[in-house]
Subunit: 252 residues, 2 copies
DNA sequence: ACATTCAACTGGTCCAACCAGTTGACCAGT
DNA sequence: ACTGGTCAACTGGTTGGACCAGTTGAATGT
């Protein structure tokens, strides 16, 4: 009995999903240039040997992601995703097998955005969250400290803890953006190898931030949150080589 | 010949789109509670008198928006959108006819997020944008000042100008989030009535921010951007009554 | 009481049409 | 030669029915 088998490697991906990923990748990589016309649905269906409905479902998703523009009678045209695609692109892109070259630094960017949003959320949370929420955040921080050195468990608890803070900020847009980021770019431990450990293992910083929020010290909470979240962000834009061996040399 | 007819009020909305909006609204409003099962595709098709394929396209979009969870053989279940939906929800929600009650304060939240992201983008842009980009931003700010008092034109130019700054920040996540926000919550003039005019009409502030960015003064650019963008954000959370007549009495 | 089986669901895919707009070439009238 | 309208050949949108492929839960046999 496979109890904790969270991922099923056997499961076949739906045809429309495969087609979506394929077309998405081609668009993001510029193989299908903006302004150009997408291959007709019937032709795509014939090319890949699938039914037209599967193609339609994929195209419909591309449309929702603002990667293409569909008009009845006319051809479906490829949009400039840099000017139209939304933040959920982070989510879909990381879900794919491999990240398109065009989205190379996106993970770093997502971490940077996390720091920005997280810091402001902490500030707002300290300002206007309810006492009950503050207590919950404090309690969660305390529980966080009792987990141990398991990075995976820490990562999951950390996300849950931040969700409380972002929720406490009362800003729904922050919460949705948070979902986009954690659902995509920084799932448990699979993204930042070493730097994020500095963040996750620092229980004291978590407890201190919780105290600041509970105390209503908005400015200090913002500063503490920014400092904590900035640790995982690779400071200089330096990731030219695809070799994963980089980052060994201590940053000066 | 209708030249400048940008919107066509005649166009019929696709069946799957209507169904998507309807189901989305029901989910966001809690009519379809999280954890519960969505009506079966065949049943939905029968209920609304449409083909099952149209239903499938709608459900597929709900799945992409992380509002439902689909599993072959099993029933499609409704997710807790507060915990799973991404920022693009802003975009879709505002596209609908009426905003669901659950997303009442979302517009204000989006403005708050815009201020947060925009300020950090201005900071990063001042730090690391190229001289060519800085020149383009400066030129665009100058052109912005020559538009005149047309709020609609100013709004469009303002968005284009900010797009330059966000692009100059080099952060792709910021750019995508920007797309989500401007594509949804704050399209030209239809959202913030009076407060945003203070922002749009202040040409001097735009020029000054452009100068700070060009000069590479990151800290000052961040402060200027935050100040400029914060004007449109209704400061206190005060929107309890659904009546739109509120806000007349000056906040004490 | 338990484990097994199986019929009745569920979503996933396919085929074959037809409806509804768009496009562009083609041809009649000027 | 140019203008104008017509029409065939695309495009996406919708429909119907059928079947495949998993899941579920109740009926069945031990």
């Amino acid at each position: 009995m496979l109890t904790a088998m969270t991922e099923r490697t056997i499961q076949r991906e739906a045809v429309s999903d495969q087609l979506f990923s394929l077309l998405e990748e081609r668009i993001l990589n510029g193989v299908l240039p903006p302004g150009g016309a997408l291959t007709a649905e019937r032709e795509l269906a014939a090319e890949f040997g699938v039914n037209r409905h599967a193609v339609r479902e994929a195209v419909k998703r591309l449309q929702q992601a603002r990667l293409v523009e569909v008009s009845q009678g006319g051809r479906t045209r490829v949009l400039d995703w840099r000017a139209s695609a939304g933040l959920d692109l982070v989510l879909q892109a990381s879900a794919g097998s491999r990240v398109p070259p065009a989205l190379a630094g996106l993970q770093r960017d997502a971490l940077e955005m996390r720091a920005c949003i997280g810091a402001d959320a902490a500030r707002l949370c300290a300002e206007r969250c309810s006492p009950a929420q503050a207590a919950e955040i404090t309690a969660a921080a305390a529980a966080f400290g009792r987990i141990g050195p398991d990075l995976a468990a820490l990562g999951a608890a950390d996300i849950a803890w931040w969700r409380l803070i972002v929720t406490g900020s009362g800003n729904l847009a922050y919460l949705l953006a948070f979902n986009s980021l954690v659902g995509g770019a920084l799932p448990v431990g699979e993204v930042p190898p070493a730097h994020r450990a500095d963040e996750l293992l620092d229980v004291t910083a978590h407890l201190r931030l919780a105290e600041l929020i509970a105390a209503g010290d908005a400015a200090a909470a913002e500063r503490a949150a920014r400092e904590l979240l900035s640790r995982a962000v690779p400071s200089p834009a330096a990731e030219p080589a695809p070799s994963a061996a980089a980052g060994r040399e201590a940053a000066g």
